[in-house]
Amino acid sequence: MKTWALVSVLLVGFLLIWAEGDIPAIGDSDAPAYNYVADRYIKEAYNETDTPNMVTAILADYRSYDTLGELTVIFTAGVAVLLLLRRGGRL
C-alpha cells in the first residue's frame, strides 16, 4: 500500500509541478482569470446588485445557484449523518 501510495503521489506531484510552471505568476494583473469574467464582477457588482461585498454579490446573486447547491450539499450531509447514526427520535 505504501509503495503504491508513494508512486501515485509522485505521479500526481510530477503532473502538478509540470503544469504549475505555466501558471501566470502570483499577483499578475494580466492573468486571464483576472481580466475576463472577474472583471465584470469587480466593476459592476455594486451597480448591479447593490452589495458592496463582491464575494457576497457573486455568492448570493451571480452564482447563487451554486450556493443553493452548496446548501443542498450540507443538507445532504445532515440527512446522511442522520441516516447513518441516529438511533433515538422519530427519524
Binding site: 448591479e48 458592496p52 461585498n53 448570493a60 446548501l71 443542498t72 450540507i74 445532515g78 447514526l85 422519530r90
Partner: protein, 141 residues
C-alpha cells in the same frame, strides 16, 4: 465536567453574545466580511458550546431535533422559494430583479440576496447542530 461551575457560568454569559454576533455576521454579509454560512456556523457553535458545557440534553432543550429538521428545511424552502417566486413573476430561476418590489433592480437584488443569506444561515445552523448531535450522542440517548 458537569461540576465545572466556571465553565458553565462563562458559557451562560457568552452564548447570547455569540448568537448576536452570529446574527450580525449573517446580516452584515452584504456590506462586509461574513454571510449566511459563516453566521450559521457560528450560531451552531454557540449551541454546540451549550451542549459541551451543560450536556446534550440541555442543548436539545434549546433546539430539539424536530426544530432542527424543520429549520434545515425552512432555510432551503426560503432559498428555493425565492427562486420559484422569480419564475412566477416572469424571470428565470433566482432572477431576483423580476420580483416586483418598489425598488430599482439592483436594490431588489441586494434585498433578495440578504433574504437568501438568512435562509443559508438557518439551514447551516440547523444542519451543523444536527450533525453534532448525531455524532456526539451515544446510542442510549
Amino acid at each position: 465536567m458537569k461540576q465545572d461551575v466556571v465553565i458553565r457560568t462563562v458559557c451562560r454569559l457568552i452564548v447570547p453574545f455569540i448568537q448576536i454576533f452570529a446574527l450580525y455576521v449573517i446580516i452584515h454579509g452584504a456590506s462586509g466580511t461574513g454571510g449566511g454560512f459563516q453566521g450559521g456556523v457560528i450560531f451552531a457553535s454557540a449551541i454546540i458550546l451549550i451542549g459541551i458545557a451543560f450536556g446534550l440534553p440541555d442543548a436539545l432543550q434549546r433546539i430539539s431535533e424536530k426544530t432542527n429538521t424543520l429549520l434545515s428545511c425552512t432555510g432551503l424552502y426560503i432559498y428555493a422559494g425565492i427562486g420559484i417566486l422569480c419564475i412566477i413573476f416572469g424571470g428565470n430561476f433566482l432572477g431576483y430583479s423580476f420580483i416586483p418590489l418598489p425598488l430599482d433592480s439592483a436594490a431588489t437584488r441586494g434585498l433578495m440576496a440578504e433574504i437568501v443569506e438568512i435562509g443559508i444561515g438557518i439551514t447551516v445552523m440547523a444542519v451543523m447542530t444536527s450533525i453534532f448531535y448525531d455524532i456526539a450522542v451515544k446510542e442510549d440517548m
